[in-house]
């Protein structure tokens, strides 16, 4: 059986935030504010999720004079991944344990 890839606590937060309202398209800066993540943490997660086919994106027209915005929501595979992802607390505990094992 293929082993499921474990996610970082931040990735779990992004997955759960997007899965909370699966039909809604979310914007990058909204996720930065809502999840209190830095852009340097959020975008690598979004890029990785899209590269793995877990996230879909589309361009949305903006108000006058502003460039179109990229919007995101989970694909069916992404929703399944979010459902299978552990809670953020468990993901944090796992990543701390992993870091401990790596430094030991």
């Amino acid at each position: 059986m293929a082993r499921r890839r474990s996610h970082s606590p931040q990735t779990v937060r992004v997955l759960h935030a997007l899965a909370a309202e699966p039909a809604v398209w979310r914007h990058g800066y909204d996720l930065v504010v809502t999840l209190d993540l830095k852009s340097g943490s959020l975008y690598p997660i979004l890029i990785r999720l899209r590269d793995r086919g877990l996230l879909q994106s589309r361009w949305e027209p903006s108000e006058s004079g502003r460039p179109p915005r990229h919007a995101y929501r989970l694909t069916a595979a992404g929703l399944a991944e979010a459902a299978a992802a552990p809670s953020e607390r468990i993901a944090t505990r796992r990543s701390v344990r992993r870091a401990g094992l790596e430094t030991a």
Partner: protein
């Protein structure tokens, strides 16, 4: 240049143009006092999202610069005037250009088999040219050793044709471009590393004769200068020749299998 354009430019160079536009569009929503941090995060994110091969290219570029720096420190006689620093400046520009191009190409080639193909083709091209060098150092040129000159371009051509048949001629050219750059770096590191480590040895009769005629004081410095110059020429010529041969392979493949390949 506005910060949004900087983000778009960096993203485009790294083969993530769509993400650059996405980040730049979000920038318009960010309050002015937070923009600097947001842009810094975006630039970091673009670098973090680079594939392993892009980091390998960066490491190759840094190692190439280190080889030249080590030669300049170990053989101070290499610096003969402004011309030396101009040559070093040109070399640094070429290396930076190669690293940026290789990073962008490795991001564009998303399919892992194409990336593996580019690495194998790069290794094949480098080995072919190394074999030509070995054959030339053994003795006088023969028909067989002259025929080996076609080996590197042939490998590049086959790689270009393979990648084109697999996808499109654009992808084929990108694949062969990446292979050419990797081959250039591999050859320069082998050649330059060996030059610095062994002081440009072996010293053949022609080199000693040229050294005596040059009026230079130190044979080792003269040999290192001569050999590093050859290495830099390899770094320029091998990717160029390979790219031309590879592009020819792409054209042939596109004409041979027009139904399976597209622009």
């Amino acid at each position: 240049m506005s910060t949004a354009r900087v983000v778009i430019l960096v993203a485009s160079v790294l083969g993530r143009a769509d993400w650059g536009h996405a980040m730049a569009a979000e920038l318009a929503q960010v309050p002015a006092r937070r923009r600097g941090r947001f842009v810094a995060g975006c630039l970091g994110a673009l670098l973090l999202s680079l594939p392993g091969l892009a980091w390998a290219s960066l490491a190759s570029g840094l190692l190439s610069l280190a080889v030249v720096a080590a030669a300049l420190v170990r053989y101070p006689g290499l610096v003969t005037g402004v011309g030396t620093w101009l040559a070093v400046g040109f070399f640094v520009t070429v290396v930076v250009g190669y690293v940026v191009a290789a990073a962008g190409l490795s991001t564009r080639l998303e399919e892992s088999r194409l990336l593996v193909g580019a690495v194998l083709a790069g290794a094949g091209i480098a080995c072919s040219w190394w074999a030509v060098g070995l054959a030339a150092s053994v003795g006088a040129p023969t028909l067989a050793s002259m025929a080996m000159l076609a080996l590197g371009p042939a490998v590049a051509g086959v790689a270009g044709a393979w990648a084109t048949a697999r996808s499109s001629w654009v992808v084929g050219t990108e694949c062969v471009g990446l292979a050419s750059l990797l081959a250039g770096f591999a050859l320069f590191l082998l050649w330059g590393g060996q030059t610095v480590a062994f002081a440009g040895r072996p010293y053949d009769a022609a080199l000693v004769r040229d050294f005596r005629a040059s009026g230079a004081h130190d044979l080792a410095t003269y040999a290192v200068s001569d050999s590093l110059g050859s290495g830099m020429m390899l770094l320029l010529l091998v990717p160029l020749v390979s790219l031309v041969a590879g592009a020819a392979g792409c054209v042939v493949a596109q004409r041979a299998w027009p139904a399976t390949t597209s622009a």
